[in-house]
């Protein structure tokens, strides 16, 4: 510390006091929960101590606080400002990244390193990307925090599974129906509650998400209850099944194209299917933003009172955002059901909703490319190693807090006016 370039007026005493206070708070927080460990044994609980952890933690907080204080003192900006500027510089690069990413996504199955595992993971990422884009309509564009988005995902998945099993409809017939059911559910749930303010709405949608899940668990005869539904039909290539030995009178996909049968055909097909669905979602969002209703969403997000004064009906406008967002959730749900072949209420918990919200928020509300980056980050993190899975939600939570403090609008928030009076430069 002595060799710092600027011998700035750095008040050591103040910095040390501050760091000591932070360390004292850290100790108060850490002693009961980290210092003691309640180990559950058949006879009851046994208390272990881990004060070495506490000491390490407290020292880390002390040193960290001291360094943070020094950084703040030596530079008038906050310590995180350079990161903020880096994110701003990323904005123009995002356009190039979009096309590169798209090309990569399309070519992924033929790239040399791709195998079944890679495509499987990529499919999962794309499901989250699609969910993120769908929720982005509600949260990012219309500014309605929906913590029960997973309910629509569940409605879509169960619609597909039940229609396909009970009425023997194909995936392509069910897909629009699943979207329709989810959209209608969205409108029905949204209708009574959309006049509520932001944080009330968040809690109510959370409640709805839980209600849908509890109903699925308890309505045994219809949904299979906690056991879920097995044997959900696999998708077909426009009527051609992906099976080695198709039924009498049917032609399988590989026979039509004269290929050797390979189970990876279906995996690759599913991958392209979700890629197409996700891109449709994205294209839809990009186009609808330019329509009056899209503009009304964004205006409503910024100032509801001004919108009402301008004659926009807030409830109907919000309802369209809610319904359309729910519809895309339903599409994603139908895809999820056909991909897994098995669905159960386990897949539709609050954690899932929260993950999707985290993807939208971390990416920057309203930013489409931000959603992709966040989905990649949050889905690949647990794939890095099983031990990460346990820490994933902790990292999630901490990241949500830090990103909100650092950039309250999200990482790549796009809050530029979508309409300018004078055109500044030619459209790209």
């Amino acid at each position: 510390m002595a060799a710092m370039p600027e011998p700035a007026r750095f008040d050591w005493r103040e910095a040390l006091t501050d760091a000591a206070l932070a360390a004292a708070v850290a100790a108060a927080l850490a002693v009961p929960l980290i210092g003691f460990h309640a180990v559950d044994e058949p006879t009851g609980i046994r208390i272990d101590t881990r004060f070495d952890w506490v000491v390490i933690g407290v020292i880390t907080v002390f040193v960290g606080r001291l360094l943070l204080g020094a950084l703040k003192r030596l530079r008038p900006q906050t310590a995180l400002a350079p990161l903020g500027r880096a994110a701003m510089r990323l904005r123009p690069a995002a356009t190039a990244l979009t096309w590169a990413g798209l090309a990569f996504a399309v070519l992924l199955p033929v790239l040399p390193f791709s195998n079944r595992y890679v495509i499987d993971v990529a499919t999962t990422v794309l499901i989250y990307v699609m969910l993120g884009w769908g929720l982005n309509i509600v949260v990012g564009l219309a500014g309605l925090l929906d913590l029960g988005y997973v309910a629509f995902y569940a409605v879509g998945a169960y619609s597909y599974a039940l229609l396909a099993i009970n009425l023997d409809l194909s995936f392509w017939e069910c897909l629009p129906l699943a979207g329709l059911f989810a959209g209608v559910t969205g409108v029905l749930l949204g209708f009574p509650v959309l006049r509520l303010r932001g944080d009330y709405l968040a809690i109510v949608t959370l409640g709805f998400g839980e209600i849908v899940r509890i109903i699925i668990i308890n309505w045994q005869s219809f949904t299979g209850g906690p056991n879920g539904i097995t044997g959900v039909p696999r998708p077909s290539f426009f009527g051609l099944p992906f099976t080695a030995n198709p039924a009498e009178g049917q032609v399988a996909f590989h026979q039509l194209l004269g290929l050797e049968y390979s189970p990876s055909h279906r995996i690759v097909f599913l991958y392209f299917l979700i890629l197409a669905l996700a891109l449709i979602t994205n294209l839809f969002t990009l186009r609808i933003r330019k329509l009056p209703v899209g503009r009304a969403w964004e205006a409503l997000r910024e100032d509801e009172i001004a919108c009402r004064a301008l004659g926009i009906n807030p409830r109907n406008t919000k309802l369209t955002a809610f319904g359309i967002g729910a519809m895309f959730g339903g599409f994603a749900g139908a895809f999820f059901a056909t991909r897994q072949g098995f669905i159960s209420p386990e897949s539709f918990t609050f954690v899932e909703s929260a993950t999707i919200v985290a993807i939208v928020v971390l990416g920057g509300m309203g930013s489409q490319i931000g959603v992709v980056l966040a989905a990649l980050f949050l889905t690949l993190l647990p794939e890095l190693g099983r031990e990460f899975a346990q820490f994933r939600m902790v990292v999630f939570g901490a990241a949500m807090v830090l990103i909100m403090i650092w950039r309250p609008h999200g990482l790549l928030a796009s809050r530029e006016p979508t309409l300018r009076l004078k055109r500044e430069d030619a459209p790209p």
Binding site: G143, Y200, L206, A358, M393, V394, F396, M400
Partner: protein
């Protein structure tokens, strides 16, 4: 009749627990106009600290029950209050002038963080707590069914009522209470007349956390188990209680808690136990739709 009486006793006990948590929601909402999404997690942490404190007391060999209870109560309140203070300092204070959704999202982040932090440092399994207070007495017996009032339930009732009295005194009669009500009405003006706004808001979080931690300790005593996920449901239900009573109103929080506790225990007794959470959520939705100000709340005027 006897069965009904028993459900009434159980419902009031549950309702007092919800009420104690709901006070934290309603106070924080009153003072900064935001829902403290991580409040349920604070309650969960309180329950864990209580279980650990009981364990440590067992190791130290303090066997006189009232003394043990008092020590655990104080330890739990103090350490959980530290969590409440930190929560405000980390997730709310930097965002005081940020867009509305930002503090809500940072609080959700905090709630995930705390849930999983406890799951990692204390293990994800359910932690049992051996009964500290045993025994009950029979209030009423109609020959078929006898109504029990356990000592734990009596402790919960007494403790809640005492805390309410202390709390009402604190808010109504002390300098801190005046500052708190002042900041609630007009934050800028309160600052101008010399009230330390930051400190008042922090103290609000601390008190809310301390009350929630008592609720956590009582649940640990009452049900004998704690787990890292218990804050989620309890948080939503206490929030429902706060909304039902009228958010921002302190007597409303208790009233809402009692009503919700009664509804829940009577619903479980006479209808279906599977749908008791649905009943609670439905109350929340219905209240918000038909009477957003709650039973005792004042209507909120939206200013441009």
């Amino acid at each position: 009749m006897a069965y009904f009486l028993q459900q009434l006793i159980n419902g009031v006990t549950l309702g007092m627990i919800y009420g104690l948590i709901a006070i934290g929601y309603t106070m924080v909402y009153g003072i900064i106009g935001m829902i403290n999404f991580a409040h349920g997690e604070i309650y969960m942490i309180g329950a864990f600290i209580a279980v650990i404190a009981f364990g440590v007391i067992g190791v130290l060999g303090i066997s006189f029950v009232p003394l043990a209870l008092l020590i655990v109560l104080i330890v739990t309140m103090v350490f959980t209050a530290a969590y409440g203070w930190t929560l405000e300092r980390v997730a709310y204070r930097p965002l005081r002038d940020a867009p509305r959704l930002a503090p809500l999202i940072s609080a959700i982040g905090m709630s995930f963080f705390l849930t999983n932090y406890v799951a990692i440092v204390q293990g994800a399994r359910v932690k049992p707590l051996q009964p500290v207070i045993r025994g009950d007495f029979i209030v009423y017996d109609d020959g078929v069914f006898s109504v029990h009032l356990t000592y734990v339930q009596m402790l919960i009732w007494t403790l809640t009522l005492v805390l309410m009295a202390v709390f009402a005194y604190l808010i109504g009669r002390t300098a801190f209470g005046r500052a708190q009500r002042c900041v609630q009405q007009d934050r800028v003006m309160a600052g101008l007349v010399g009230i330390d706004v930051d400190r008042t808001i922090a103290a609000t979080f601390v008190i809310g956390a301390a009350l929630a931690s008592v609720a956590g300790m009582m649940v640990a005593l009452y049900y004998g188990v704690v787990d890292f996920f218990m804050g989620f449901l309890a948080g939503i239900k206490a929030f429902t209680a706060a909304v039902l009573g009228g958010i921002g109103s302190l007597p409303g929080a208790i009233l809402g808690g009692l009503l919700l506790g009664l509804v829940e225990s009577l619903w479980s007794a006479y209808f279906s136990i599977e749908y008791k959470d649905v009943a609670a959520f439905s109350i929340l939705v219905l209240v918000l739709i038909f009477r957003p100000t709650g039973l005792l709340g004042r209507p909120e005027v939206e200013k441009v």
